[in-house]
């Protein structure tokens, strides 16, 4: 901790204690502090409101029931197909995004020349990708995966009826994989950078090749970071609705999906449907809150884990530099 020695020899704490006469400083410190508090309050109010109202509608039956077409009735409805749908699409996505993201991060930290224009362009593309609106990913999924790849697959495989060129779990997952690519890359890179260069040098000095060093020394050390990247990607994707609107989600399905080419029901989309299509919002309210709490529990459990692992990695990073 930095301590400054003032003129009269007393140590001045790093923490700010405004001079009582310096009204301006005091005022603005309080003002910015209030802004911080206000943001925390928003978070608090959202969470408390949802938890408070959500508990009542939540039950074991609610989580394990496949609803009928009329899912606005509290006594018979359930969210099992939505939980299943969201889980499957997120896992299929992880399967695609994790290898690509991790390998890109390995290239960026271990191989890429620091000041080359190509490295800069790759980084720029990653940053840009993180900022592309989710609805544009949805359009991309429709235009590229369904209308281009799916269409050509149907032609080549001579499918009797369109199996690939329509919305499905596979296309929705791939669209989400494209969207969460930067999340995985950034998190993995962050954790790769925390590994002391000495470790790599030691391995190389013992005669291991660069690739062997990466696989046997660097990657095991970076595992927590890679996991964080995966978890963050999953939690981001679990709540996203816009990219799957045209690429796979279904308003209602009587059965659980059986194939990767089937459509699916989804928790986030169900929240949207319940809040905008309900014939009577007052009656739907308990179902809506219960569904939201399931969605939040899913994304938050993941998020909290990721935040905790991340905090640890950052501490290590700070200790290194």
């Amino acid at each position: 901790m930095t301590r400054l020695r003032a003129m009269n020899g007393q140590t001045v704490s790093r923490h700010f204690r405004a001079d009582r006469r310096d009204v301006g400083s005091h005022f603005f410190t309080v003002l910015t502090g209030l802004a911080t508090l206000f943001i925390l309050c928003i978070l608090g109010v959202i969470l408390i409101n949802i938890t408070w109202n959500g508990w009542r509608g939540l039950s074991w039956r609610f989580i394990t029931t496949i609803p009928t077409k009329d899912f606005f009735d509290i006594s018979t409805t359930g969210v099992l197909p939505m939980i299943v749908g969201t889980t499957i699409r997120v896992f299929v996505m992880t399967f695609f995004v994790l290898p690509v993201g991790v390998i890109t991060a390995i290239y960026l930290t271990e191989y890429a020349p620091v000041r080359s224009p190509l490295t800069r362009i790759i980084r720029g593309a990653v940053n840009n990708l993180a900022g592309v609106p989710s609805i544009v990913f949805g359009l991309f999924g429709l235009g590229f995966f369904i209308n281009f790849i799916g269409h050509h697959m149907d032609t080549i495989l001579r499918s009797a009826e369109p199996t690939w060129s329509h919305p499905s779990i596979l296309w929705a997952s791939l669209t989400l994989a494209v969207m969460t690519l930067p999340v995985v890359i950034v998190a993995t890179e962050e954790s790769l950078r925390t590994i002391p260069p000495g470790l790599r040098e030691a391995s190389l000095a013992l005669g291991a090749t660069k690739l062997e060093t990466i696989i046997k020394v660097v990657l095991p050390q970076a595992l927590p970071g890679i996991m964080t990247g995966g978890i963050l990607a999953v939690s981001r994707a679990a709540g996203e609705v816009a990219p799957i609107l045209f690429t796979g989600v279904a308003y209602y399905m009587a059965d659980l999906p059986k194939n990767l080419t089937d459509q699916f029901m989804d928790l986030g989309y169900h929240v949207f449907v319940l809040s905008t299509q309900s014939p009577n919002i007052e009656q739907t309210r308990p179902i809506l809150y219960a569904t939201v709490i399931v969605l939040l529990a899913l994304t938050f459990a993941l998020n909290v884990t990721a935040v905790l692992i991340r905090a640890r990695i950052r501490k290590r990073l700070r200790a290194l530099s």
């Binding site: 802004a35 949802i50 969605l295």
Partner: protein, 381 residues
């Protein structure tokens, strides 16, 4: 025996390195694919190749041999490949279908002065037009009905209204909090606030939309006493909540990257913590804070679910207490009904391309500003 070097010594390793390099290009490839395929579907709009006029000239079936093939192909709206695959009878049937379809148009609309207008031309997309039944030129987005009106100006305004409200709400709060957390507060506050804001950014936008719809809309209406319960103002505040984390973390990052020596020098000269933060650190990090707002803008204008849930009526007005239908909302709500390859479908993709271009520019600007700032601050260290 000579010593092998490079890829001849370890061909597998060489191969693996090349593969790693190829995979690392994924982000670039994906960005290009997104641009390519969104623009590809929208291409006919940009090239002006579509004709959405209701009443079209018809050619009697008997005259099939009198018109030249190229003209016939264009008349039937077929691609070259489709045209080549069709035999004479199919073409005749298509011509009959065309004549029948034209005959089905109700007389009232057939005689409408707007029935012969190609509404997908740029002047109808951007400029006001006096449609039948209106007493002055108006901007209208109305993709259903006999005569389809695709003016995109109301949608652009509909996107800007909540975005501006959201930024006005989020920016002061987020920057204030960033100054407090990075410059004025102690370590313990920082350890509490930063994870909390990460949690806030983890709330799915559909949940923020739901919360705004059920809770905030009523509270805000009671506070400000406006007439329409669900309007651009509510959507804007909800957008603001979604934008706070991004503006906060980027400006906090920029403020923290100002070298300690700056702060210490100011404090040693007798400045208070606030004076140091406001007069030394903030000016040094200002480009970064600006970049945070630019990136926040990109995030807000591209947000779909929040605005879709709260307001969806297309109104041409700058009044924030009225509804608004933005670009993202329109794409999300109408894509399901649009016929693949039709005018409506292509114009929705054109809107997507527009959105992509806007966010691409704002991301690029933000990125460049931050990069420059970091090099500058690190260079001076």
């Amino acid at each position: 025996m000579g010593v092998h070097r490079g890829h001849r010594a370890r061909p597998l390793e060489w191969l693996a390195e090349k593969l790693i390099f190829l995979v690392s290009l994924s982000a670039i490839v994906v960005t290009m694919l997104i641009f390519l395929f969104v623009a590809r579907e929208a291409m006919p709009v940009f090239l002006g190749q579509m004709n959405s006029a209701l009443v079209l000239p018809t050619i009697p079936v008997e005259e099939i041999d009198k018109v030249n093939p190229e003209e016939l192909r264009r008349y039937l709206g077929l691609t070259k490949k489709q045209f080549a695959e069709m035999d004479r009878d199919t073409l005749k049937t298509l011509m009959e279908v065309r004549i029948e379809a034209q005959a089905e148009i109700p007389t009232q609309f057939r005689e409408d002065k707007d029935a012969r207008i190609n509404t997908t031309e740029w002047r109808y997309l951007l400029k006001p037009h006096q449609w039948t039944g209106y007493d002055r030129p108006v901007y209208i987005w109305q993709p259903i009905g006999w005569i389809k009106k695709y003016n995109i100006v109301p949608l652009i305004i509909g996107s800007l209204k909540p975005t501006i409200v959201g930024l006005l709400f989020a920016t002061p709060l987020a920057i204030g909090a960033a100054i407090y957390v990075s410059q004025l507060a102690g370590d313990r506050t920082r350890e509490l606030v930063k994870p909390a804001i990460e949690l806030l950014s983890g709330i799915p936008s559909v949940v923020i939309g739901f919360f705004a719809l059920l809770v905030m809309a009523s509270v805000l209406q009671a506070l400000f006493r406006y007439e329409v319960r669900l309007n651009a103002f509510v959507a804007g505040i909800a957008l603001g909540i979604a934008v706070i984390p991004i503006v906060f973390s980027i400006s906090e990052d920029a403020l923290t990257s100002v070298p300690r020596s700056y702060t210490q020098a100011a404090l040693a000269l007798g400045a208070s913590r606030w004076q140091t933060a406001y007069q030394i650190v903030l000016p040094a990090a200002l480009p970064g804070v600006f970049a945070a707002v630019v990136l926040g803008f990109g995030r807000a204008i591209g947000e779909t679910m929040i605005v879709l849930m709260i307001c969806s009526a297309s109104v041409m007005s700058w009044n924030i207490f009225e509804s608004a239908r933005g670009i993202t909302t329109t794409i999300a709500a109408e894509m399901a009904e649009a016929v693949t390859g039709g005018h409506h479908y292509r114009i929705l993709f054109m809107l997507g391309a527009l959105l992509f271009a806007v966010t691409f520019l704002s991301n690029l600007t933000g990125d460049i500003i931050i990069h420059r700032l970091k090099t500058k601050l690190e260079g001076k260290k």
